[in-house]
Symmetry: C2
Subunit: 152 residues, 2 copies
DNA sequence: CATGAAAGTCATCACGA
DNA sequence: TCGTGATGACTTTCATG
């Protein structure tokens, strides 16, 4: 699906999304206009889904990370509960998981009090049976950068 | 720590990291030079940690997401095992968790065969006692954008 | 798909209020 | 901290190979 030039562009943009088009062009040794078209095409094809600044959670007052399993009673395949969970403030990720009908929810909040409040909100959702939370003590690695290989 | 102008800048950049400085300036109604200095300051203070292009995992051949709990036998507080886990290809996140001495590892791979291979790699690490994997069927929400409030 | 030229726009810096 | 103004670089489009 990609040639090596596309891969190089994707890797550079994963590392620094604010790399200028001119710098990209120099890196892959193409004219800026050619690079611009490649990037646009990658965006249009849905390969690049967006560009995000990443902030330091503690720096913005979100010092507590946790993962919560939310067991639900809902028809298999339905994700209505998931969407309700996703809308709660502090919920960054909601994954519907195999096995026990449950969502795995990644949460970032200020402190344990805020976590307690968030769990209470989750419990208020009708279809939620119970929750099981694991608090993160230390994040060793956290990236959104995907490993790209040549036969992608 | 932040005033409303900084918050607005941070929110815009979380949404689109490639927003030009000139557009930022128009959005917050300041001169470009003033905005540039604010952004630089936010970077230097460690509030903004980077800018990343986000790719569609299936579009690059990574269609399987999973979370693996890795129980370890290692001194409390040590994260050597965590770093070894972090270096495995396909491992996006490694969190050391409270409770049972364990890491919660977020993984993205091509398919179940690749997952099996990755789990085998994990098992090869000496300090790893066992692993427990939950496969994601559907990701309802997945963002790195942090909710910012005015008393951050 | 890539190039190169042209027009408009932007990034960046020094300076002053 | 901010605005102004200058300059060199960049972005983007388009005609063309």
């Amino acid at each position: 699906m990609f040639n090596e030039i596309d891969l190089k562009i994707l890797n550079i943009l994963q590392e620094n999304a604010r790399t200028s088009n001119a710098d990209l062009a120099r890196a892959v040794d193409l004219a800026p206009s050619a690079v611009l078209e490649r990037v646009r095409k990658l965006e249009r094809r849905g390969v690049i889904t967006g560009y995000a600044a990443h902030l330091s959670p503690p720096a913005v007052g979100l010092s507590l990370t946790a993962f919560t399993f939310v067991r639900v009673e809902e028809a298999v395949g339905a994700t209505d509960t998931g969407r309700l969970l996703a809308d709660l403030p502090g919920v960054l990720e909601v994954h519907y998981t195999a096995g026990a009908a449950a969502y795995l929810v990644k949460v970032r909040v200020a402190d344990t009090a805020a976590l307690a409040g968030l769990l209470r909100e989750m419990g208020r959702i009708e279809s939620v049976r119970d929750t099981n939370t694991t608090i993160v003590l230390e994040t060793v690695k956290e990236t959104a950068a995907l490993p790209l290989n040549h036969h992608s």
